[in-house]
Assembly symmetry: C2
Homo-oligomer: 327 residues x 2
């Protein structure tokens, strides 16, 4: 199935997503970006591919001419930055698949936003959905799918551990690798840190498990190195910061029912793990982890094929069919 696709946002994730859409046989009919270095250039050239005859525009009014089936939306993490963008896509009758972390589960963070987007999407008969690997897969959709074959779920513990030393330089910087603990805490206080979407994952997990009125709490802190590490991008001394350690806890009726633990640090093992205590118990390990950069882009492009077989509205990955069957 070949779709008419518009790429909205041409940062690293957006460019990778547009390239993958081409590789999957879709047709790129337009692209939106605000960077003056990209606007007006041919999209194919921006992507490092053959020319596509499609210029990059900074004007959302172009959406109407492009008439996309699906917009791949990769501009910003936060709801307050994207409402107008989503409304413009909905307004031309296009489905939207977004990598915005907050859009993965926006209902608690901003009910007003959620109601407005949901109403507009239903009215237009289109689907708006946020996806990715985290949030969007490892800590939410994945354990919910596993729980589908569990008769009684007592508790769910999900951990994702990423060796930041084997990832891009910006990620190592983002997790504070090489900082002293004091410098880390200073930057933390300034709000410069933290993986976005843990709370969103926890809320989605709770609803997926049928735990309504769940309370979610978060912790955040440095993961300290126990040995020296040297990467092409960072020098980490034992006792200094290797990366971040972040948790979300789901409490229902005073009882801890789920924990989500994210470690992104130089020298950490690459592994995702879901442990469901219950009947039957399940322990599921993604050996070597789910490689985040590629997996997020894959989630966005793969979901585009499936939204047409979903119910219109503001949806979540818990509601999108696992595959498009064409039926």
């Amino acid at each position: 199935m070949s779709l008419r696709i518009v790429q909205f946002g041409l940062g690293p994730i957006g460019q990778a997503s547009a390239r993958l859409a081409l590789d999957h046989g879709h047709v790129l009919v337009g692209a939106l970006d605000l960077d003056p270095e990209r606007v007006g250039r041919d999209l194919g050239e921006v992507l490092g591919r053959d020319p596509l005859g499609v210029p990059v525009s900074d004007d959302m009014a172009a959406l109407a001419d492009w008439a996309p089936d699906v917009v791949l939306h990769t501009t910003a993490s936060f709801l307050d930055r994207i409402e107008g963008q989503l409304m413009a896509c909905i307004g031309v009758g296009a489905h939207v698949v977004s990598s915005s972390e907050e859009l993965f589960w926006p209902f608690d963070r901003d009910p007003g936003f959620s109601d407005r987007i949901d109403a507009a999407a239903r009215e237009a008969g289109v689907v708006v959905v946020g996806t990715g690997v985290n949030p969007g897969f490892v800590m939410d959709l994945f354990p919910v799918v596993l729980a589908g074959v569990v008769a009684r779920v007592d508790r769910v513990d999900v951990s994702r551990s990423v060796d930041a030393g084997r990832r891009r330089g910006p990620l190592q910087k983002k997790v504070g690798a090489g900082l002293t603990e004091a410098a880390f805490r200073e930057r933390e206080a300034a709000g410069g840190f933290g993986h976005i979407g843990m709370v969103e994952s926890a809320k989605a997990l709770a609803v997926g498990m049928g735990w309504h009125d769940a309370e979610v709490t978060e912790t955040f802190g440095p993961h300290l190195a126990t040995a020296d590490h040297q990467t092409p991008h960072a020098t980490v001394a034992a006792g200094d910061v290797a990366g971040i350690h972040q948790t979300a806890t789901v409490v229902v009726d005073g009882e801890t029912r789920a924990t989500l633990t994210l470690t992104m640090a130089v020298g950490a093992p690459d592994e995702d793990r879901v442990v469901i205590a219950g009947d039957p118990p399940m322990t599921v390990v993604v050996e070597g982890g789910t490689f985040g950069d590629t997996a997020t882009v894959a989630a966005v492009v793969n979901t585009a094929r499936r939204v047409g077989e979903s119910r219109p509205g503001l949806r979540t990955m818990l509601e999108i069919p696992a595959a498009a069957t064409g039926r």
Copy 2:
């Protein structure tokens, strides 16, 4: 969410499913079974629970009075035995969740059956779906969900290994544990063997991966013991049959794109494993395996909550939302 449930079929899976429905807070409003030892008795008593004030009936006409939201259907594996039963449920406007292995993916085996059930279900605004652990999860839904975060899938290899020595006596007998190879081959020739649903899983996996026009081939044979084994139910000498070894292979354009391998044998390890070659590659292990008996019943009862948020028609687990969100 409490549903009005009818249990259709009170064999071991049906009874377990009815008990779990009660444990999940649903209301059992009726039950159908043909066994004269059960008909007319109180359902609660048949289940080994407190009386429910609901008699077991052998007359499908009772469905209209019971007015169930969902029928849990656990009568038979084969399509030619269940069409009338499904139509009776559809006729009273009830969703149907079935453990019938062939119903998990009936489209290729019997297109006429599939068209008739699909048309009737759409007309009545209800969902009919087959589920379970295998088929229904390990070899089909599970790898398809994992592939949702893979940009390029080159090949998928799924294996499920079950230690029959740790399972019920009937299962050990079913897989031929303790037979000589000659006796196994004799019983195989008489058609008495084989796990049902491998082809169904393979076809669903292929469509889930977007591989249309896939060819599926099957193999079946004994898994021979390399050492002596003694269980409470079977004595297996080295060189004799420990169980079954069954495969399905998916070939697309002359190339093998997926293999499914099932080993159910005394002394085999308990493990499910999905290996996706591609970008990013994924290796996912269910440590200790997915415990079949409980998981199948869980799949049936858990799916009941989700069918109301699906599109009407004859559906597959690839299309049923991972969770009911109430939205």
